[in-house]
């Protein structure tokens, strides 16, 4: 993909974000009363500026005479899958953490990442890493630093 095409896609996406933002701000936030600015002014201003900048990026992609020299490296093979797997793992971790508790959820998520993201199939390595990481983090964060980690509502494990 050329840098011009990439910029046009980015500009279109940013323009869409700005437009949706402006509509949401305009329809959901009260303008405020009195002489001072209300809560709507800044978000609206930022949305309008972003829209203008997106148009600027679009215009630049048409007027630029040369390809960008700071083109990022091409996506690595399977990068899209890795993006989905990584973001999915974090969301899944958040979703189960309070229900099943920190230790089981960490063991589960670390094991899933080892198997599905890193493709490490050795049960010993997966078990050692996921259990070790989970217990290590629990001891350091919860016991040593006093950070609250969810004990779980479905099952509760206290050490």
């Amino acid at each position: 993909m050329s840098s011009r095409l990439r910029d046009r896609i980015a500009a279109a996406a940013l323009l869409a974000v700005a437009l949706v933002w402006i509509v949401l701000v305009y329809t959901t936030i009260e303008p405020g009363q009195g002489v001072a600015m209300g809560p709507r002014a800044f978000p609206l201003f930022f949305g309008v500026v972003l829209g203008g900048l997106a148009l600027g990026l679009l215009a630049e992609s048409f007027t630029r005479l040369h390809e960008a020299d700071d083109e990022p490296a091409q996506a690595m093979p399977g990068e899209a899958t890795t993006v989905l797997a990584t973001i999915g793992s974090i969301v899944f971790y958040g979703a189960i953490m309070e229900s099943i508790g920190f230790i089981p959820s960490t063991i589960l998520v670390a094991a899933l990442m080892m198997v599905f993201v890193l493709r490490i199939w050795s049960p010993l390595k997966v078990a050692a890493m996921s259990i070790g990481l989970s217990l290590g983090c629990y001891l350091v964060f919860s016991k040593l630093l006093g950070t609250y980690l969810p004990p779980g509502t479905w099952i509760t494990i206290y050490i």
């Binding site: 840098s3 990439r6 896609i9 980015a10 996406a13 949401l24 959901t28 936030i29 002489v35 001072a36 600015m37 209300g38 809560p39 800044f42 978000p43 930022f46 500026v49 972003l50 900048l53 997106a54 600027g56 990026l57 630049e60 005479l65 040369h66 960008a68 700071d70 996506a75 690595m76 093979p77 399977g78 990068e79 890795t82 993006v83 990584t86 973001i87 793992s89 974090i90 969301v91 971790y93 958040g94 953490m97 309070e98 960490t106 670390a110 990442m113 080892m114 993201v117 890193l118 493709r119 890493m129 990481l133 989970s134 983090c137 964060f141 630093l145 006093g146 950070t147 609250y148 980690l149």
Partner: protein
């Protein structure tokens, strides 16, 4: 002098030195781990001090604060994830230095600069506490707004090759921070009627997402594609800065220390603004700007000196006026009050010995940090010998813990994922993410101060243009933007010409 001499035995005794050592370590650990802030460290340390005598208690709180401010650079340099927002600017050149096999040099520069910045700011504080306090208190909403506008102009320096893309990044950061309850009116903004969105996007969570998630994705992708760079024993080579480098950068460090102290003394500003302005200052006045972002030593020295100089600066309004500049100093203020010290102009008259005791505690805390960090560098860099893909699994877990621990909220974990995805997509679109961080840091202050100024002036703009201080900052911001726009247009004009020549 008598007060100083009477303060010496107050500080140089076992319990106080022990409290400073403990506070330093707690602060360093919390500062180093992304998501665990030094405000959390102070909140943890405060109850411990309840049973202590006043001096060890205050010394411990001061040491925790200083340790936390210093520790943020370790993770910024080693894994490109700043431990604290103040260390975000340090990652810009610290991480490239680590990639170039200069991890220990970057870490030692960071700790030396931090100590230097902290001690110089203390000296400035001792010499000019009354003058700076009077100056700082004159900073009303209009002046702080102008300072923040000047801070935003540093986006120009962080925009790498395209000013347009840098401003887009900054704008996205500004927009993200408007989600949640409006600070002034209490109105819900972009919450979609849900309670969870009312808490808004936390700065630290967003920062972890922007820095950590793209790093996690890239490391996993490289491993899957068989392109992972193996750990290099050279990366853990121990290296200290040369005298030549320290001499060469002394003036820069002095300027950044002054800058950090001044910014720190203004309530409501803080370390991240000072660090970014200092970084931009170092880049702008460098003979070779192209080195910045690629591992320039000055890119570590400037922000680290400035963000630690903020610690001395924040003590100026805290001790002389009883005004805490940020949440961390608010915890210290409560510690002082609990132990019978009431900050304000009378503190210096009624408790001069204790005031000198606090000064000495700050010095001792920096001495501790210097030794602990310099001795620890050999161990910190060992982390680089862990296979990157396994280290990244651990980083993912720690980032989620860090995000969750901020407010014990799963919403923050989802925010981490969402902001991380945005950060990754922005990088693929060649939009730098550092201006996003600047937008996140400055956005709430920008809006709050502007609207407060407008409320105070009843909607008249003369509050801005009748303030000489505000006008100076606006002029500086315009100058920076003008210079960068000229440089960008010059670069655009030269590029096709060089292409034709080729």
């Amino acid at each position: 002098m008598d007060a100083f001499l009477s303060a010496l035995p107050l500080i140089f005794n076992g319990p106080v030195i022990g409290a400073i050592g403990l506070g330093t370590v707690i602060g360093l650990v919390f500062g180093t781990i992304p998501g665990l802030t030094f405000t959390m460290a102070l909140s943890l340390a405060l109850p411990i001090t309840f049973g202590m005598a006043p001096m060890p208690a205050i010394a411990m709180l001061v040491a925790t604060y200083i340790g936390g401010m210093t520790g943020g650079s370790v993770s910024a340099i080693l894994i490109n994830i700043p431990g604290t927002p103040s260390a975000a600017a340090t990652a810009l050149d610290g991480y490239p230095m680590r990639k170039a096999g200069k991890a220990s040099l970057a870490l030692s520069l960071a700790v030396l600069s931090s100590t230097f910045g902290g001690l110089v700011s203390l000296l400035i504080m001792v010499v000019s506490v009354n003058f700076v306090a009077r100056l700082a208190i004159k900073f009303g909403p209009a002046e702080i707004f102008a300072l923040v506008v000047f801070g935003m102009s540093t986006i120009c320096g962080l925009a790498e090759k395209s000013l347009l893309r840098g401003v887009i990044g900054g704008m996205i950061g500004l927009m993200l921070m408007t989600v949640g309850l409006d600070e002034i009116s209490g109105e819900q903004r972009m919450t979609f009627g849900t309670v969870t969105f009312q808490q808004g996007v936390d700065l630290v969570v967003a920062m972890i997402g922007l820095f950590a998630v793209p790093h996690i994705i890239t490391t996993f992708s490289a491993y899957r594609a068989g392109l992972q760079v193996q750990p290099n024993p050279q990366d853990v080579r121990f290296e200290l800065p040369s005298w030549g480098l320290l001499r060469r950068t002394f003036n820069l460090a002095m300027r950044c220390a002054g800058l950090g102290t001044l910014i720190g003394s203004i309530p409501g500003t803080g370390g991240p603004i000072a660090a970014f302005i200092a970084y931009d200052h170092a880049r702008r006045f460098s003979k070779d700007r192209s080195r910045f972002g690629k591992g320039a030593e000055e890119g570590v020295i400037a922000p680290e000196t400035a963000n630690n100089a903020v610690t001395g600066g924040t003590f100026i309004p805290l001790l002389s006026l009883g005004i805490p500049g940020d949440p961390a100093t608010a915890v210290i203020l409560s510690g002082l009050l609990i132990h019978g010290l009431f900050p304000g102009p009378t503190l210096f008259l009624e408790h001069p010995t204790e005031v000198y005791g606090i000064y000495l505690a700050i010095i001792l805390a920096y001495v501790f940090i210097l030794f602990v960090q310099l001795l620890g560098i050999r161990f910190f860099v060992k982390i680089l010998m862990v296979p990157p893909h396994l280290l990244t699994v651990a980083i993912t877990v720690m980032c989620v813990i860090g995000a969750y621990a901020i407010r014990n909220s799963v919403f923050d974990v989802y925010t981490l994922a969402a902001v991380g995805l945005i950060g990754y997509l922005l990088l693929r679109a060649r939009i730098p993410t550092t201006p996003v961080v600047l937008g996140l840091v400055l956005g709430p202050i920008l809006e709050r101060e502007y609207r407060t100024a407008m409320i105070l002036s009843q909607g008249h703009y003369d509050i801005f243009y009748t303030s000489p201080t505000a006008m100076v900052f606006f002029a500086l911001a315009l100058l920076v933007i003008g210079l960068q726009a000229r440089a960008s247009m010059g670069a655009r004009a030269r590029a096709p010409a060089s292409e034709q020549e080729a």
